[in-house]
């Protein structure tokens, strides 16, 4: 056992030194997480704001103006008033505005008769913005209709929707993305860096001399992963701290649980990296494969950008094949919702299974042999 810890210490020291000599590790461990979390905090919001909207008032009655007054002073719209529909269309075509709200000439007259029309034309190239804009216009119009009915003494009646949003008190998009960023930081450091450093040793032939020492495979694998484990965890903690203090991320579950699940996922990521490197034994290929099989799916399919609840069944099934999905699910529960123990337990169990699978593969494939 003395030999084990001594050799492990020596190898880990070596790995750490190599890591620290390379300034790029600092970029990876500190700069990238900070940049990501700041971009997320400042720049990423799915909610539309200030949609440039051409308002065409062909009816000059005060009621007509009232009907579309909701666009003014709203965070959602940045209205431009134009005189003709043709002009508005030209602006939409030239991307000067993304929406046209038109009040036809007979609006106020027909409103009294109870069958007024408003026209909304949207640019659907950015479908999300278009959808949201439509929703906001609808709500604005409904509110006006109700108010108009009330003004005339007639109750609108009907159903009103009182909405509340749970698990996200300030309702900022930021919180939605923070778990994803944590996941990205862990995935990148875990999969990519590990895959490349292992492949580099295969490529440079440094393993041949290392293998013929009393070193065991377990020691090698541990030593390879420990420094990257630390770097990745450091990056993640940095994100957590920024998230907590800058964005007041709730962190409903105990920190220990959050860290525990994250470390488990990190081990999964590291073992995937080990498998990729053992499979390719080439840095070049390892980079490409990591990018395509781990990074892109982690971004697209894990529920980071696209909510899995709104996905077709097939995608949901595919996403269940990725460890990332489980981690993200657990992390979201732990950070944002109260962390229902059942959900987290299920996710943790799945992650465990993945970890065991990939670790077993990594050990089976990393043999002290140089056969091509």
């Amino acid at each position: 056992m003395g030999g084990f810890s001594r050799r492990l210490a020596a190898l880990t020291k070596k790995e750490t030194k190599e890591l620290l000599r390379d300034n790029s590790s600092l970029l990876m461990g500190v700069v990238l997480p900070l940049v990501l979390i700041l971009i997320i905090g400042c720049g990423m919001s799915l909610d539309v704001k200030d949609v440039p909207t051409a308002v065409v008032l062909e009816d000059h009655a005060p009621t007509a103006r009232d009907a579309v007054s909701f666009v003014r002073g709203s965070d959602y719209f940045a209205p431009v008033y134009v005189n003709s529909f043709q002009e508005a269309e030209a602006m939409l075509r030239a991307h000067e505005v993304d929406a046209i709200l038109a009040v036809p000439p007979d609006f106020s007259r027909r409103l009294l008769a109870g069958d007024a029309h408003l026209q909304l034309i949207l640019n659907g190239v950015e479908s999300t913005s278009a959808m949201s804009a439509q929703g906001y216009v609808e709500a604005g119009v409904r509110a006006f209709a109700a108010e108009f009915a009330a003004r005339r003494g007639a109750s609108a009646g009907g159903v009103s929707i009182v909405s509340r949003i749970w698990f996200n008190d300030a309702n900022t998009s930021t919180w939605f993305y923070v778990p994803g960023i944590l996941m990205l930081v862990l995935t990148i450091s875990g999969v990519f860096l590990t895959a490349v450093v292992m492949a580099r040793e295969w490529e440079r032939g440094t393993f041949e001399s290392l293998f013929v020492t009393p070193m065991r495979v377990l020691e090698l694998i541990l030593a390879k992963t420990i420094p990257y484990f630390v770097i990745a965890l450091l990056g993640m903690l940095l994100c957590l701290v920024v998230g907590r203090y800058l964005y007041e991320l709730p962190m409903r579950a105990p920190l220990a649980a959050i860290l525990g699940v994250s470390m488990l996922y990190l081990v999964t990521a590291l073992s995937i990296g080990l498998v990729i490197s053992a499979l390719t034994k080439s840095q070049y290929l390892a980079c490409h494969i990591s990018l395509m099989v781990s990074f892109l799916p982690a971004v697209i399919l894990s529920g980071f950008l696209f909510d899995l609840h709104a996905e077709p069944l097939a995608i949901r099934v595919v996403s269940r094949l990725l460890p990332t999905t489980y981690y993200l699910d657990a992390l979201k529960s732990l950070l944002l919702a109260g962390g229902s123990p059942i959900v987290v337990a299920q996710d943790t169990a799945a992650l465990m299974a993945f970890t065991l699978l990939f670790l077993a593969l990594a050990f089976a494939m990393t043999r002290k042999k140089v056969d091509a």
Binding site: E208, S209, T213, V370
Partner: protein, 589 residues
């Protein structure tokens, strides 16, 4: 009991990639290495030396046969075997981002060298390898030879039961090589170490207790060096070349003469090996030269064995016969090279890396058609000088002219006149031989029919025609070297720069290589070459020796010998004497 390695009918077959036949790296090899002895493994490229070493280390699985190391079955308990031995692979994997000391410490820790022993051992190893002054330097910033020495030091951090060294002295200068062998013999004596070493230097094999000759995966012979040496008894002769005839021309002519098994310049004469009476040999008759019998050396026995094995049939193409078509039956006397115009001029060249002076105030010139050697211990500044000449590195100060221009600043087209073979194999490993040649041909402005013809010509010249569709990385060492040469010569350049082209190449392939050089020089190509085989300096018209960036001596082999007053001495000794003298003087002042 005393056998530390016992192999019985050991066979290793590498399955061929789809469509290609399997390669048999070792077939039915039975050999034994005794405890407390040094055993050498020699043989040409592709003989199976490295495969054998890797099998002994448990790095590979066998195809058939048995192998026990220190009484343990390697294939059953590889880790137990690995705990007992130390191994230095051919390409020792240093960690380039770690310093010299850190690399050593890593291996010491892995082997569990106690701290008490460590201090003394490190000091000794560092002194031996001449790395004591560089302990804080990153391994990646060491010169090629120094890296090799560091690799060796890392392997020797402890005294194992069995030490395996796969060509440990490739690229290492004679001084360090001598020191290294002193250490090895000392270790064997004091610590009862058993050593298995593969080497391309026959004088190193001669220092071992037992020698095994491998050829194409088969064991040709095993026995004492004496037995191998005396195999050539009665066949060795030496002959003095007439004045003004470069040794290499006489040697080349002899090599192609029928009945001659081997010829090589050495100690100012040409040694050759023949079964016939020397008077019958055409080149000697033509020049009216008288040969005298010589004492056989190990290399002679080895060459004889290989030639005979090849003659038996199942051998690679007979290279030596065809390769020297250029060396004519009658020997033209070339004009003295110094009469030709100077093609490369270097005046007061200086290169500094920060505070470190790699090349200090060096001046020399090389004439058209000359073979110019650049010798010196590891880290002397040879490669740096080379890289400056090729325009890969800017000079700190001084004047530099290659064919009238400085390649660093000249128009790119000026580079079309040079060919460059780097120290390390540096062609595209995953491309085939043909694709590499095609690319470099294209880069040098050839295309269409001309390109096809040149590719065919160089492929023919370097015996690559059968291997055109093989990936460069899969070629054996000797073929890689030939491919590098072929790629550098595809555009028939006027100047050829060769940085240690013969490192790690077996004696047979080196003969072929030098015949090619001889032929090129005769055709007017100017050649600048670095080497660590000192006897190869004999092939040069002139050479210079550098140490610590300074030029110590410059002249023809005969001139330099005469200056030292050591006519007939082997070039190794001359080299060591010059460098040691310079170092003493430096310390004295």
């Amino acid at each position: 009991m005393a056998d530390v390695i016992a192999a019985r009918s050991l066979t290793k077959v590498f399955p061929g990639k789809k469509g290609q036949p399997d390669t048999c790296a070792l077939s039915g090899v039975t050999l034994a290495a005794r405890a407390g002895e040094m055993t050498a493994l020699i043989g040409p490229d592709g003989a199976g030396k490295t495969t054998f070493m890797r099998l002994v280390c448990g790095l590979m699985d066998r195809t058939a046969g048995e192998l026990s190391v220190c009484g343990l079955d390697v294939f059953r308990t590889p880790q137990d075997v690995q705990d007992l031995l130390s191994y230095m692979p051919q390409k020792f994997g240093l960690y380039e981002d770690l310093t010299v000391a850190e690399n050593l410490t890593l291996y010491a820790d892995l082997h569990g060298v106690p701290a008490a022993v460590r201090e003394e051992r490190f000091t000794r190893l560092l002194h031996m390898t001449g790395l004591a002054a560089f302990t804080g330097r990153l391994a990646g910033n060491l010169s090629g030879g120094m890296k090799q020495k560091l690799g060796l030091a890392c392997t020797l951090v402890r005294s194992p039961r069995l030490l395996l060294l796969d060509e440990p002295t490739v690229g290492v200068d004679p001084l360090s090589r001598r020191e290294l062998w002193e250490i090895l013999t000392q270790l064997v004596r004091e610590e009862h170490l058993s050593v298995l070493v593969s080497t391309a230097y026959m004088e190193e094999a001669a220092r071992c207790d037992r020698v095994y000759v491998l050829h194409c995966g088969q064991l040709l012979m095993g026995g004492t060096p004496e037995a191998l040496r005396t195999a050539a008894a009665g066949l060795c002769y030496e002959v003095q070349a007439p004045p003004h005839l470069p040794l290499r021309l006489l040697q080349s002519a002899l090599l192609t003469a029928p009945g001659v098994l081997d010829a090589v310049p050495a100690g100012g004469v040409v040694r050759f090996l023949t079964r016939r009476a020397p008077e019958e040999l055409a080149p000697l008759r033509a020049l009216g030269l008288q040969a005298r019998p010589a004492e056989p050396r190990l290399e002679d026995g080895f060459m004889k064995l290989l030639k005979e094995a090849e003659a038996e049939g199942a051998a690679p193409p007979a290279e030596v016969e065809t390769a020297a078509q250029g060396a004519a039956e009658t020997l033209p006397l070339p004009p003295p090279a110094s009469a030709a115009p100077a093609l490369i001029e270097v005046e007061d060249l200086v290169k500094k890396f920060g505070a470190f002076t790699a090349v200090a105030h060096t001046s020399f010139s090389v004439h058209r058609g000359e073979v110019f050697g650049l010798l010196g211990p590891n880290g002397a500044g040879k490669t740096t000088t080379f890289r400056m000449l090729c325009g890969l590195l800017p000079a700190t100060s001084g004047k530099l002219r290659v064919a009238g221009v400085d390649l660093r600043t000249a128009r790119t087209q000026a580079r079309a006149n040079i060919g460059y073979v780097a120290q390390k194999f540096s062609l595209y490993a995953n491309l085939t031989v043909y694709e590499n040649l095609r690319f470099f041909g294209g880069a040098y402005g050839l295309y269409g029919r001309q390109l096809r013809e040149r590719i065919a010509a160089v492929a023919e010249e370097f015996h690559l025609t059968d291997r055109m569709d093989e990936a460069a990385e899969r070629l054996p060492g000797g073929y890689k070297q030939r491919l590098s040469m072929a790629a550098a010569l595809i555009h028939a350049p006027g100047i050829l720069f060769l940085d240690e082209p013969t490192s790690g190449i077996d004696p047979l392939a080196r003969r072929t290589f030098w015949q090619e050089i001889t032929r090129l020089a005769a055709g007017g190509t100017t050649i600048v070459i670095t080497t660590h085989f000192m006897e190869e300096a004999e092939y040069c018209d002139r050479f210079m020796i550098q140490d610590h960036g300074k030029m110590l001596v410059l002249g023809s082999p005969a001139e330099i010998r005469a200056r030292l007053g050591r006519e007939g001495a082997p070039m190794d000794e001359v080299f060591i004497a010059i460098v040691e003298q310079a170092r003493r003087e430096k310390e004295g002042t």
